[in-house]
């Protein structure tokens, strides 16, 4: 197993003592097959135990370790050292406030996830009647959009979220679409009250960066374009057709 000396340039911020962030360079000996997260763990274990960052599964399913690596939003457990040359710049996810070092404050994202009512609404039936049945085709209709791991890379990539922080954002809107497409759900109209607002899907200009950085291949950009079409048809029905207003 070959070793490689890696230089990391890591953003540091201590809310107790700092007014601004600064960069700190670490030099650490790594195995060549490691990911950036492994390098950070080695830094924390051997060099600087005060370095703060989130991580958990180390296999790109939990969504905890999102950060900017050389300016690109990535999961640090999914960023292989072999793909990088020279000094690797590690920063917290863009567009989120920094709590400490590489740890961001995800409060805004959490609130937006809840706002879109991400649960099956309606079609309640007593337990005795058995479970909701769903064909494989009905499942496939929304399955791709259910794969989101809430890693927030799409929010870091989305320039409209950066320019307009009240934008509900790619992941939350995609989650709304996932439930709209679920055959067990009847809550589309309720969700469209959040989705079809100015800060909902209409803030999106289809940059497509969200889908490019998504590690779970959710393709949020496609969900948002479909929501625009749904929203437009809704508007026509509500405002132009007789008896449209429900």
């Amino acid at each position: 197993m070959k070793e490689r000396t890696v230089q990391l340039e890591v953003l540091r911020y201590n809310p107790d003592t700092d007014t601004e962030a600064h960069f700190q360079r670490y030099e650490v000996v790594c195995q060549e097959e490691w990911v950036v997260l492994d390098a950070l763990n080695k830094v924390k274990a051997d060099i600087d135990p005060t370095l703060n960052y989130r991580w958990s599964c180390h296999m790109a399913v939990c969504g905890s370790c999102g950060m900017m690596i050389n300016g690109e939003p990535k999961l640090s457990c999914h960023a292989f050292l072999r793909d990088y040359e020279g000094v690797i710049r590690v920063e917290p996810l863009t567009h989120f406030p920094v709590e400490r070092d590489l740890v961001t404050a995800p409060d805004d994202f959490m609130e937006k996830l809840k706002r879109v009512k991400p649960y099956v609404i309606g079609k309640m039936k007593p337990i005795e009647e058995g479970e909701h049945r769903q064909t494989p085709a009905q499942l496939m209709k929304f399955r791709q959009y259910s794969m989101c791991i809430n890693c927030m890379l799409c929010y870091a990539a989305c320039p409209e979220y950066g320019l307009t922080p009240h934008f509900v954002g790619p992941a939350a809107l995609t989650l709304a679409h996932r439930y709209n497409l679920d055959s067990r759900d009847e809550g589309r109209k309720e969700r469209m009250e959040v989705v079809a607002t100015k800060e909902g899907v209409w803030e999106c200009t289809f940059v497509g960066a969200c889908s490019e950085v998504c590690p779970a291949h959710v393709d949020p950009a496609s969900a948002l374009q479909q929501l625009k079409i749904v929203g437009s048809i809704d508007w026509i029905v509500e405002h132009l057709l007789p008896g449209g207003k429900s």
Binding site: Y13, P15, D16, D18, E20, A21, G71, E72, T94, H95, P97, V98, E99, A105, P136, A137, M140, K141, P159, G162, L163, T205, F206, V207, G208, A209, E212, D219, A221, S222, Q225, Q226, K228, I229
Partner: protein
């Protein structure tokens, strides 16, 4: 220990230099300037056409300047880049489910390209280009 989160400002007029994908996005958006300008030219053309054969001949003659040729090259590049990015995007907006699976996105976009080529050739044919 209290929270004192640090806010990092986004540069509002230079954010798109941060990554090539944002530059590509801006290039796509900028095509609207040239396409829009070309549409203005079309409106002018309609005025000349309505004004009679001498006015129309004057319009066609006026097209033959160096500026016009440069403008047409830019407009053509813009229109082509718009068309390519638009057709590639259609597969995102209109998923087609057949049974359990989805029609591959390339097929949906590809169909648009085919229609575009056929339509363009038809228009060129009826315009007497060949």
């Amino acid at each position: 220990m209290s929270r004192r989160p640090l806010i990092r400002e986004v540069p509002p007029t230079s954010w798109f230099f941060r990554h090539p994908r944002y530059l590509r996005y801006m290039a796509r958006e900028i095509t609207c300037i040239f396409v829009g300008a070309y549409c203005v030219l079309l409106v002018v053309a309609l005025q000349r056409l309505a004004a009679g054969p001498e006015a129309w001949a004057g319009f066609l003659q006026g097209l033959r300047s160096a500026d016009s040729i440069v403008f047409h090259l830019l407009a053509l590049a813009a229109a082509l880049y718009h068309a390519g990015t638009w057709f590639n995007a259609t597969q995102k907006a209109m998923p087609l489910q057949v049974g359990e699976n989805f029609v591959p996105g390339n097929v949906i976009s590809g169909a648009h390209y085919v229609v575009w080529v056929v339509l363009s050739l038809a228009i060129l044919f009826f315009a007497g280009v060949f």
